[in-house]
Symmetry: C2
Subunit: 425 residues, 2 copies
């Protein structure tokens, strides 16, 4: 089915009743989809299916009717309800034989832990005729690569930490040589502090015409809790030319959006803020009320953040705002805890006490309770204090408690970004 | 296809190229799967599919070949690439007609914002012959319930906040009356502080025989970052009898696991800790180093947590451990920041300064850098200080930075839970 005129198409199956029974998101399939797309392979669909024989057979038949490549995760364990290997052999009409090298590898794996291989693990050494083993360095279940006519099936184990390096190896050794006819290139521009519709309206006149170019650029806009991402992608035989075209397209968007651009490398807002602080040799501290630690959690999600984050304070009570941040009781009485003067006093107080370069303060009403007609749920005040003075502002967010907290944390990070950005590096 | 002898079967489709292109997890399908299962409807598979006509047609045909009920989300917007409505009509062989009441509702929705309905939104008022509209109170795209022979198709919009209340309404008005032949009952027991294999070994002899009872109980064990969940479910015509049997089964597990049981209502560890603090009228404060705010974020995720959480301190630097928590510099020099004596001093210092009932402290090495042969990445020290004295302990976690931080936060919450549990309510 694979032709040069279109990207090869994949379908991704995740076998596992537990995913369906417990309402957990399937994280393997989006991960695999991203990797296939970077190799120029389109993804028609992903599916989570039970471990039952009939369901698996139907899912695999359907996938083979729609795709050049089928990638399955899960169901390669040693027990009776691990059926993926058997079902693939059945559907493709292949006999299974025991692979002596795989038995040895599994036996040695148990041996290194001073254990004897249980007999049931022999099932994991069964290989369909013509199948190639993809070694598993982190578990007992080997992967399998099986060509069938113009199509291929790749089987990988379900645990992500086993699956991920095996996918890497299978892409290099098997998938790219077979299906990597063209190259897919992707670029992104991450923005913050603007709504999706504002960004879309401003971007449409720029990227509209790109769709009709000889190598069309596909654009996708995605808003997620306070940031907006523009994704550009194109596919074709000449990777260098496509990359150059996308670089120019990305630069055009960066030019138009200016200060609203967080980064063009797809990293997180907090990583971008961390990089800017590092470059300038600045340190930071946060004073949080309604975000309850979430702002600092995001700052410290970044490896190496101890180089610039000195401390943070979560001051839920008025007493703690006075004791830890030096907010004057009179100010709290006059304006209330959720006010720009209190946010500014929190940021200034923390900066005076910690000696860091820049501080950020958040105080607001995350709900569901605590709102009043004057100060409704979703009202959040921010302040940033640093060498260029203190700046305060107020936002009003809509959504539930989790959404309001997430939007407030993102807004606080973006205010720091804009403040630091205005200071020469 | 629906028979009383087996639960009715559903398939869930999510239409959206953006889900596949950007590697985002499909959160709608697991949410819908959980709701269907609570109504006794089994889920054969979920699938994420592109917006392309041919892919959608193939996905819907396959779903109808495998399921009694097909639920689709997404693709109900007003633009050309919103194709779900048209594809369903095509596959089921139904004509579409404009529903005057829907046009009026959409027009009024725009009108309330002082806007005129764009002509393209008329597409959202197209209803297949025999289809019933499921009203959307939070957006313009109505849902549709379509019976076809013994089967049915339910279409819902993609944005979760629109979809969720509409699913609720569709289950009540259409799905349960048509497919709710039996009742599925579920129970859970949430444990913390134990490994999955430890729990499984102890639980197997108890719940093994349940599978062979006249009404078999299905058991699932799930470990997620420091807590272990045991899920029990059974299906049959007599909901009362099944519930009584599951209550007894749940009680047997609670008896065996004792202090390790966090709750039996499926709420979070942090909500359980919050409930225990509330009951006793206790207040809490946290001193965090390697968790960087994550422990406090989890405590404050719980609505109403300001009733018991007074403050928290994230002390990344030694200077802040001295200034905010009163940790003696000599102690830091003698033992290092990651040590039980320093954890205890953090907890005691914060308790003395804040006046709360109980404090918890975490100090460790989350990585990827900062580890040494004596104190490797993953080493985390904890302390709890309260009316019953101060307790410290050390854990060694494996995983990446995010996993170590999450395990450390869960362990800290569980240590608080055990400390508070030992104090009479």
């Amino acid at each position: 089915m694979a032709r040069v005129s279109r990207p090869p198409v994949a379908a991704i199956l995740a076998a596992g009743s537990e995913l369906l029974l417990l309402g957990r998101a399937d994280t393997n399939s989006p991960y695999i989809a991203g990797h296939l797309q970077r190799h120029g392979i389109a993804v028609a669909f992903t599916s989570v299916v039970t471990d039952e024989h009939d369901d698996l057979v139907a899912a695999l038949r359907h996938a083979l009717s729609r795709a050049d490549l089928v990638v399955c995760t899960g169901g390669l364990g040693p027990t009776d309800d691990d059926r993926t290997r058997d079902v693939v052999a059945e559907v493709l009409g292949l006999t299974l034989h025991e692979d002596a090298a795989v038995v040895t590898a599994i036996r040695e794996r148990f041996g290194r832990r001073g254990l004897t291989m249980p007999e049931i693990n022999r099932r994991q050494a069964m290989v369909p005729a013509g199948g190639v083993v993809v070694p598993n360095t982190r578990g007992t279940a080997p992967g399998l690569w099986i060509r069938t006519g113009d199509q291929a099936v790749l089987l990988l184990p379900g645990p992500p930490r086993e699956m991920m390096p095996m996918l890497e190896e299978a892409l290099r050794a098997h998938v790219a040589p077979r299906f990597g006819g063209g190259v897919a290139v992707q670029r992104s521009v991450v923005l913050a502090g603007r709504s999706e519709s504002w960004v879309d309206e401003k971007a449409q006149p720029i990227y509209g015409p790109w769709r009709d170019e000889p190598v069309p650029i596909t654009t996708t806009i995605l808003a997620s809790l306070g940031s907006v991402e523009l994704h550009l992608s194109a596919y074709g035989p000449d990777g260098g030319a496509i990359a150059a075209r996308l670089d120019a397209a990305q630069a055009a968007l960066v030019e138009v959006f200016g200060d609203d651009v967080v980064n063009t490398d797809g990293t997180s807002l907090e990583a971008s803020v961390g990089g800017m602080l590092r470059t300038r040799g600045w340190t930071i501290a946060a004073a949080e009320s309604c975000t309850g630690g979430l702002l600092t959690t995001r700052l410290t999600d970044v490896p190496g953040s101890s180089a610039y984050l000195d401390r943070s304070v979560v001051s839920y009570s008025n007493a703690s705002k006075e004791a830890l941040l030096g907010v004057p009781p009179a100010l709290l009485q006059a304006h209330g805890a959720v006010s720009e003067p209190v946010a500014a006093a929190m940021a200034d107080g923390l900066r005076a006490r910690s000696g860091v370069t820049v501080t950020v303060a958040v105080t607001g009403i995350a709900g569901p309770d605590g709102g009043t007609p004057e100060k409704p749920v979703g009202l959040v005040c921010f302040a940033v204090s640093g060498p260029a003075g203190t700046e305060a502002r107020t936002s009003r967010f809509t959504g539930d408690r989790a959404i309001i907290r997430a939007l407030a944390a993102t807004t606080a990070l973006d205010l720091v970004r804009r403040y630091v950005r205005r200071s020469a590096a």
